[in-house]
């Protein structure tokens, strides 16, 4: 091949991009392989019209040919049971219009757990999909003394096979060579028609897979006993629950305590920036926009990045370690009692970070009713966008003192708010099932993967991806909202000779005063009412809005918290916290629900029930606090 051909892509002459898709059972290390192949050259988006996450990356083959890699959702079979698996099936079979059929499919197999992936391989073989098998985690298989007859396996499946260790990037170059060879050999071959196998055919496929397994795989000489021994503790009816509670509690203490120094640092950074800009610009409206509107507003949100990073670090570590499935097992009965599927635990835990990925993650639940119930309660889980609000109020109103010698009172209140969200989610789920549908839940069938040491690089990459998404929001949605809020707060200006602060005369003041009578009974003043409106864009914007409202209203206190502490009563602050446990105002969540359920009915129901709960909760909290003299 000459260089000219590569530079000048004449149709049919130049080598076009080689399309490769990764397919495999869940927990086979597919995503680690995707990362090992593509490094940082990846793009996360959605499939057209559905919200299944589409991860694509690319690399350059040894001869300079571009290879694009698609990471497909994990599946046990081509017979799809959830929207995620529908995508996998349709891409593999070339049925998706927006996605051309891959040239080569890489079947990622966990070398230590081949039985089920063999059946998937046989399904692919029957359809005639050009495939290669990556026998992943081959190092663990070797350590266990697992004897795999690779040549025979390759003949039986009619697919070339290569051993890989994705987390250590072992075998990646050979895999790429194998992919290219396979692509060259199978050019133009179209897969034959596929149809759903019946139970009888499934049994036959299984028998065939079993025969191959017997013939090619000798049982390990040193089987993994670590997972079994650890499960004896982690799945123990008593010890397991204690460990689970401990893990969750540690997570929330960490979010609060570890992040504090970093947050203080970035806080003072933004203050310094604001002061520096103040010296550069002349006094006037532009300076007000930049330092009061943009820097103060965006800064008060970006400050929460350390907490979000720590939260995601925990979630990703637990997922990669294999603990998530155990937690789902332990919680299935509780979740089932509330009318939820054990698997709903994973979407609900993701909702601790943000309800949007959580609602998207409900795709792992096959049954429609189970899924809708989970979607409806997911926003009740305390998402990270509430952290800024909670942090602000807690640090302003709850004294930083030790309880029982080692517990931080602020951390305890924080934990209590999370617990309130969790309890209300379970309660609402229970009620929803009773009201809308009484049918029993989906079967709970879940593989518990072997424990694995999380790969630091993988964890880091995933955490950074989440941080990037958060910062992107801060840089786009939040920035533009901040500018608009500033505008609402600054215009129209106060008339000459005004006695009240300027913001009282602005649009924001008008809106705040307009809804104040409604929110008055729950102890909200007009500034709080104003802050709820931009909070529609994203919950954390409410913090920025409060910052804007108070710094514009001529308050000289640099710390928003301190400012709130002497302007709000404790009862109002607690009512605000109670409101935010439910806080229905997140436009993006409602939009995602609309998209996921394909109807306006569910987002409307969600908005109404959450607003009602928020109002009632805030009312009760406010009245009780006032009765105790905190008004």
């Amino acid at each position: 091949m000459t260089a000219a051909k590569v530079v000048e892509p004449v149709a049919g002459a130049a080598p076009r991009t080689l399309r490769v898709a990764l397919v495999g059972n869940p927990n086979s290390g597919k995503t680690a392989m995707f990362n090992a192949l593509t490094g940082s050259r990846q793009k996360v988006a959605n499939y057209a019209g559905v919200t299944v996450e589409r991860k694509e990356g690319h690399l350059m083959g040894p001869d300079g040919r571009r290879i694009s890699i698609l990471d497909l959702p994990g599946t046990y079979s081509l017979r799809a049971r959830s929207p995620d698996e529908v995508i996998t099936r349709d891409v593999v079979l070339g049925r998706l219009i927006s996605e051309p059929a891959p040239d080569v499919v890489v079947l990622v197999a966990d070398a230590t757990n081949l039985r089920l992936v063999l059946r998937l391989g046989l399904e692919m073989k029957a359809v005639g999909i050009p495939a290669v098998v990556a026998l992943n985690m081959i190092d663990i298989a070797e350590r266990q003394g697992l004897d795999i007859d690779v040549d025979r396996l390759s003949r039986e499946l009619a697919m070339p096979i290569i051993g890989t260790v994705a987390t250590r990037r072992r075998g990646m170059q050979d895999l790429v060579l194998l992919i290219e060879e396979r692509a060259a050999a199978s050019a133009g071959a179209a897969p034959s028609a596929w149809r759903e196998p019946s139970a009888i055919e499934l049994r036959a496929l299984h028998r065939e897979a079993e025969r191959i397994h017997k013939a090619c795989v000798k049982p390990p000489k040193r089987p993994d006993t670590f997972t079994g021994r650890l499960d004896d503790v982690l799945l123990h009816p008593v010890a397991g629950i204690l460990v689970l509670l401990g893990v969750l509690f540690l997570m929330f203490q960490a979010v609060f305590a570890w992040a504090a120094p970093l947050m203080d640092l970035s806080n003072s950074g933004f203050e310094a920036l604001s002061a520096w800009v103040g010296t550069l610009l002349p006094e006037g409206i532009l300076k007000s926009l930049i330092s009061d509107g943009i820097i103060a507003g965006v800064g008060s949100v970006v400050v929460f990045l350390p907490q979000i990073v720590i939260l995601f670090l925990f979630i990703i570590l637990l997922e990669d370690f294999g603990y998530m499935a155990r937690a789902a097992f332990l919680l299935d009965k509780i979740m089932g009692g509330a009318g939820l599927h054990g698997r709903a635990f994973i979407p609900l835990l993701s909702s601790f970070a943000c309800a949007i990925p959580g609602i998207m993650a409900t795709r792992v639940i096959d049954n429609k009713h189970d899924r809708l119930t989970t979607i409806l309660v997911a926003p009740l889980m305390t998402c990270s966008a509430r952290i800024p609000v909670y942090t602000l109020i807690i640090s302003a109103f709850i004294p930083r003192q030790q309880v029982m010698g080692f517990l931080n009172l602020q951390g305890l209140v924080f934990f209590g708010l999370y617990a309130a969200g969790l309890v209300s989610a379970l309660t609402v789920a229970f009620v929803v099932r009773k009201i809308f549908w009484r049918s029993d839940a989906e079967p709970f069938l879940m593989e518990l993967p072997a424990y694995k040491t999380p790969d630091p690089l993988n964890v880091l990459r995933n955490v950074l991806q989440r941080a990037q998404i958060f910062l992107q929001r801060a840089g786009t949605t939040i920035l533009s909202m901040m500018i608009l809020i500033w505008f609402l707060c600054a215009f129209p200006g106060a008339p000459s000779g005004a006695t009240r602060p300027a913001i009282d005369y602005s649009f924001a003041g008008m809106i705040g005063h307009a809804i104040e009578p409604v929110l008055g009974p729950v102890g909200f003043n007009w500034q709080m009412s104003v802050a709820l409106i931009p909070g529609m864009a994203a919950r954390e914007v409410a913090v920025g809005a409060l910052g804007t409202v108070y710094s514009i209203s001529g308050d000289n206190t640099s710390l928003l918290g301190a400012s709130l502490a002497h302007q709000w009563s404790l009862a109002s602050a607690l009512a605000f916290l109670a409101w935010y446990v439910f806080a229905p105002q997140c436009a993006s969540t409602l939009a995602v629900v609309k998209r996921e359920t394909n109807s306006w009915r569910w987002p409307i129901i969600m908005f109404l029930y959450m607003t009602a709960l928020a109002y009632v909760a805030a009312f009760i909290v406010y009245r009780i606090a006032v009765a105790f003299g905190a008004g």
Partner: protein, 109 residues
């Protein structure tokens, strides 16, 4: 072997017989119950909303097939449900009511 004895103690139906004891449902097994699957079916529409043939196929896809070795290795803490089953060399979590139709020939094969 110890586990067989334990299972037998708990369930009279499992009293060891020289030839072949009647298969018992996996749903009734206690922790330590070991055996080989003799039939996989969905005798009832155990999962409510899910049709029996569909449940059967899902069980098959998860590896619950005739001849597979099963052992109950963990039980949940409320009502001993769900259960964690060692299925050949995998670990699978299931609810008892979903595996009612899986009949198991008890005893170490």
């Amino acid at each position: 072997m110890d586990s067989v004895r334990r299972a037998a103690d708990l369930d009279l139906e499992l009293t060891p017989q020289p030839v072949s004891p009647a298969p018992t449902s996996l749903a009734n097994g206690r922790r330590g119950f070991v055996g080989r699957i003799s039939t996989v079916g969905a005798e009832t529409a155990a999962a409510g909303g899910l049709a029996a043939p569909e449940l059967e196929r899902r069980l098959l896809e998860m590896g619950f097939v005739e001849g597979a070795r099963v052992e109950i290795i963990h039980e949940g803490f409320i009502g001993k449900d769900p259960i964690c089953v060692r299925l050949d060399d995998m670990r699978v979590a299931v609810r008892r009511r979903d595996v009612r139709g899986i009949m198991v020939q008890a005893g170490e094969p």
